[in-house]
Amino acid sequence: MIEVHDVSKSYRVNRPRREGWLAAVQSLYARAYDWKTAVSGLNFHITEGELVGFIGPNGAGKSTTVKMLSGVLTPTSGRIITNGIEPSRDRKHNAMHIGVVFGQRSQLYWDLPMDDTFRLFQRMYRIDPAVFRRNVDFMVELLEMKGFYRTPIRQLSLGQKMRANLAAALLHDPRILYLDEPTIGLDVIAKTNIRRFLKELNAEKKTTVILTTHDMDDIEEVCERLMMIDDGQIIYDGGLQAFNSQFGGGTMLEVEYKGCNAPLDDPRLQVVAHTGNNVTYQFDRTDISLGEAVSLVSRRHELRDLRLREPELEKTIGMIYTKNKRQRELK
């Protein structure tokens, strides 16, 4: 469905000018440029129906990647094929089969109700009237938009606008849906609604969904696959479980024993803290299941209390960002 081979994108940026009026005049005719690499050496493959989340710090290249996939930007080198088409070569053709939502921009007519934009889109995407009717009903129902369907966009709240944009991007049953920060600035309920909607859409229509986000809950609740981009490169590509065990340091099991305090000796259960009757074990769920771990620690001694702490995605990712940044600064 989506194939990305060795793709890089760099663009020219004006070098910041030195201070002083002489430099200001000089910059008028002789501008110094720098080449900034947004992304480099991207390689990945996404199959139909996948739910993929791009994460990475600001300026890492997530949006650039989505814009190249959707045909807005042309890669400097490398090759992208989506739906069997090269998006930047055949932008209009490609656009017929994709839906795009940019979280910070709206593609709806500001002064008109969404209904007007929808009818324009029906013509633009050449949607069959029956399909159009069914899809509008489906969106209005599932995104709960009945109350503001005929209200001009400018009078809608951020969450309502986002839902309307999402609907507009899906009227033509696109095979791929690209979402660039779809939950940015939304409240918890609005976020939850959008996530639930994406899951349902994927289940019902097998739409491939690719989203970028800073909100780890988006990833945890929607995505099956996680791609982490930092400094223009993919530093992780795989499942969420595997990501946690690779970077998250595993699940923590805090146990308080009754009386006895000798920790268990099992290579799969690592003791990370031990004070008095309290022992904290760390384990990887791919090595040992939670059930087995609990039965192991409670087999020999009676427990007073037991607490489980999953690795926190947010923290793990924060740690990776800082580590990479520090490494870059050292170089």
């Binding site: 814009k67 807005v72 042309t74 656009a95 008109l112 013509r123």
Partner: protein, 267 residues
């Protein structure tokens, strides 16, 4: 066929968008009327006590100013600065995910706006003028009117393409402020919309002759007003067609390069 209906749909949506603010229409019509009133008063003053100036009568001027207002609303274009603003703000990415030609979309949008201004500003202003002031006599034969309509259409195509091309330059420069400035300066000077080219000094006329701006509104009106012979009128049409082809060619070339130049600011 579907391409044209889609174009019309885009234009109609833009039209509806502009008709949302009702009070605007009143202000627009009043503004146009004032402009008409001031211009015609000035010319009336200049012509006082004279039959004609350089072969041009007050009746000619009146026709020129009125038609100029009507045609001017149709040739009006913000396409250049709109593209520039969209490049600067990054909104351009929402345009490029649409399965339509960027140019047609931009032009259709402008058409909707112009049609709105034409119907709710220029036409009412002229109507008010006709009712309360006077009605100019158009003694043009059908052939002239037909030639006028064709050349006005060509003029619209020319000016839209110039705007569009200028707008595309913002893909390279990354800013938009010079576009309006440039267009205003060149257009006002060489299009002859404010002061007709009839009154220009020779050297300025000669420069203007090599530029396409006079072909937008001035020459079509001159055809209607009978200042251009029918033979010459055909020559004007040929020149317009040449400019259209030339601009289309450049536009093709610039667009093919522009697509590689796009970078979306602000993420």
């Amino acid at each position: 066929m579907t391409r044209y209906t889609l174009f019309a749909m885009f234009a109609m949506t833009s039209f509806r968008m502009h008709s949302v603010y009702r009070s605007n229409t009143v202000i627009l019509a009043l503004g146009s009327f004032l402009r008409l009133f001031v211009l015609l008063s000035v010319w009336q003053g200049l012509f006082r006590g004279k039959e004609e100036i350089g072969g041009i009568t007050y009746e000619d001027m009146m026709l020129f100013v009125l038609i100029n207002l009507l045609v001017g609303t149709l040739t009006y274009s913000r396409i250049g600065s709109t593209i520039g603003d969209r490049v600067v703000s990054g909104t351009i990415s929402t345009d490029l995910i649409k399965p339509v030609s960027f140019k047609s979309y931009m032009i259709a949008d402008q058409w909707g706006e112009n049609l709105f201004r034409f119907l709710f500003s220029a036409v009412p202003a002229c109507a008010i003028y006709f009712i309360f002031m006077s009605v100019p006599s158009i003694a043009a034969e059908p052939a002239r009117i037909a030639l006028f309509l064709i050349s006005v259409t060509c003029g619209i195509v020319i000016i839209y393409h110039i705007h569009y091309l200028l707008g595309l330059t913002s893909f390279w420069t990354g800013n938009a402020y010079y576009i309006d400035w440039f267009m205003k300066a060149f257009y006002e000077l060489f299009a002859g919309t404010f002061v007709p080219l009839w009154f220009y000094p020779q050297w300025l006329l000669q420069i203007g002759a090599f530029l396409p701006f006079r072909l937008v509104t001035f020459e079509p009106i001159a055809i209607l007003a009978g200042k251009t012979g029918l033979q010459e009128a055909l020559g004007i049409l040929a020149l317009q067609v040449f400019w259209i082809l030339f601009l289309l060619l450049i536009e093709r070339w610039v667009w093919s390069r522009a697509q590689h130049k796009i970078f979306v600011q602000g993420g």
